[in-house]
């Protein structure tokens, strides 16, 4: 009994210096804070993705500025642009080459549902990247603003960690 009381007291004493948490939550926090996107800009949305990584909008604040050229080193695929039937095989290969755990953000209308290039008789565009593999976050826009991409990233972090750690910006 004394040992138990001692250990309870020991826990209280070291509370300011030592934190305990579930390993899952810790890993989720680590992953959410350092998502490494794959450089997968296909079309116009790629420029807004680059602008999000540049100095004004700064993805580095959220740990996601390290764009990896190789899918083997990335855990987030931001599909920014239109997926073509000719390109679909390459996209699927890239997705398969990414190691688990991996996430996908569909950025822009083209990645969500084919965008402005869907019309009766269309022959080249895949209507949405979720026809190829599962998507975690959809960011609408043509192209979405860099702030929208950051919000999508924060939504993904919320999906990973279970809670949103950044304030929601409301329109004034």
């Amino acid at each position: 009994m004394e040992a138990q009381e001692d250990s309870a007291q020991a826990l209280k004493d070291c509370a300011p210096y030592v934190k305990f948490a579930k390993l899952d939550e810790l890993l989720a926090l680590g992953r959410a804070n350092s998502l490494w996107p794959l450089t997968f800009g296909l079309a116009c949305c790629a420029i807004e993705m680059m602008a999000a990584g540049a100095s004004r909008f700064d993805l580095a604040r959220f740990g996601a500025e390290v764009f990896r050229p190789s899918p083997r080193q990335a855990d987030l695929m931001i599909v920014a642009g239109t997926i073509n039937k000719k390109m679909a095989a390459a996209v699927k290969t890239l997705y398969d080459q990414m190691p688990e755990p991996k996430w996908v953000i569909a950025m822009g209308n083209c990645a969500i549902s084919g965008g402005p290039f869907v019309f009766p008789g269309q022959y080249a565009v895949i209507e949405g990247v979720d026809k190829l593999f599962p998507v975690d976050v959809y960011i609408p826009g043509c192209p979405p603003r860099p702030e929208a991409l950051i919000e999508g990233l924060l939504k993904l972090e919320e999906k990973l960690t279970g809670k949103r750690r950044w304030p929601i910006v409301k329109a004034e």
Binding site: K85, K86, G121, Q122, Y123, A124
Partner: protein, 212 residues
């Protein structure tokens, strides 16, 4: 600055060290005090308004007024053997046009090549109601305002025409694209495989009877 192995060109002079003042200052700096000196490794040939001859009137308010029917439309290619005729540029956007037979397109390309024109683009138009495909060759001159259009018509069910790839190597890709979209076969083309469509595509989307 060490020599960079350049073949000395006729007009350019090599400055002795990198940030040297340019030998030809840019034309008329504005009074706003901006400076656009060029620190370059060779003397730039900056062209001013007088060095490029333009046949267009510099009208301040576009579009230019429609010329009266009496004023003659100039035809700078009247001396060539093919039926080139002048076109109202303000209305149509090109200067000279010719409709030729399909076996004359290579001759047209050679004549225009000798005149110094450059290949703009090649495309097709599917006139399904008339049972014909029109192949349109656009050319432009890199030094003066001269845009030439050469047209020809081929039957739709046997859409074949000679390639002009030997005269203008740039036609290689334009013809592949036209083949992709219309199914027109360019005889003599070294590599008539799909260019913009997937490698195994067997459809021609811009034909008017294409239905997905």
């Amino acid at each position: 600055m060490s020599t960079n192995g350049l073949q000395p060109k006729i007009d350019s002079a090599q400055p002795a060290s990198p940030p040297a003042a340019p030998a030809v200052p840019p034309k008329a700096a504005l009074t706003t005090g901006q400076q656009s000196t060029v620190t370059s490794h060779q003397t730039p040939v900056t062209s001013d308004q007088s060095s490029v001859t333009s046949q267009q009137p510099t009208a301040p308010n576009p579009p230019s007024p429609v010329p009266s029917p009496q004023s003659p439309i100039p035809n700078p290619l009247a001396h060539l053997s093919l039926p080139f005729h002048g076109v109202d540029y303000a209305a149509k956007g090109y200067h000279v046009e010719a409709t030729v037979a399909p076996d004359q397109v290579v001759l047209a390309a050679e004549l225009l090549d000798k005149e110094g024109l450059s290949l703009d683009t090649i495309t097709g138009v599917d006139w399904m109601a008339e049972g014909q495909m029109e192949v349109v060759y656009d050319y432009f001159h890199p030094a003066k305002a001269l845009r030439v259009v050469v047209r020809t018509r081929i039957p739709r069910d046997k859409a074949e025409i000679a390639t002009i790839q030997k005269v203008f190597p740039g036609a290689n890709w334009h013809e592949r694209e036209t083949h992709d979209f219309f199914g027109i076969r360019f005889l003599g083309h070294p590599n008539l495989t799909p260019f913009l469509l997937p490698e195994d595509a067997d459809y021609h989307p811009l034909r008017k009877d294409f239905a997905q």
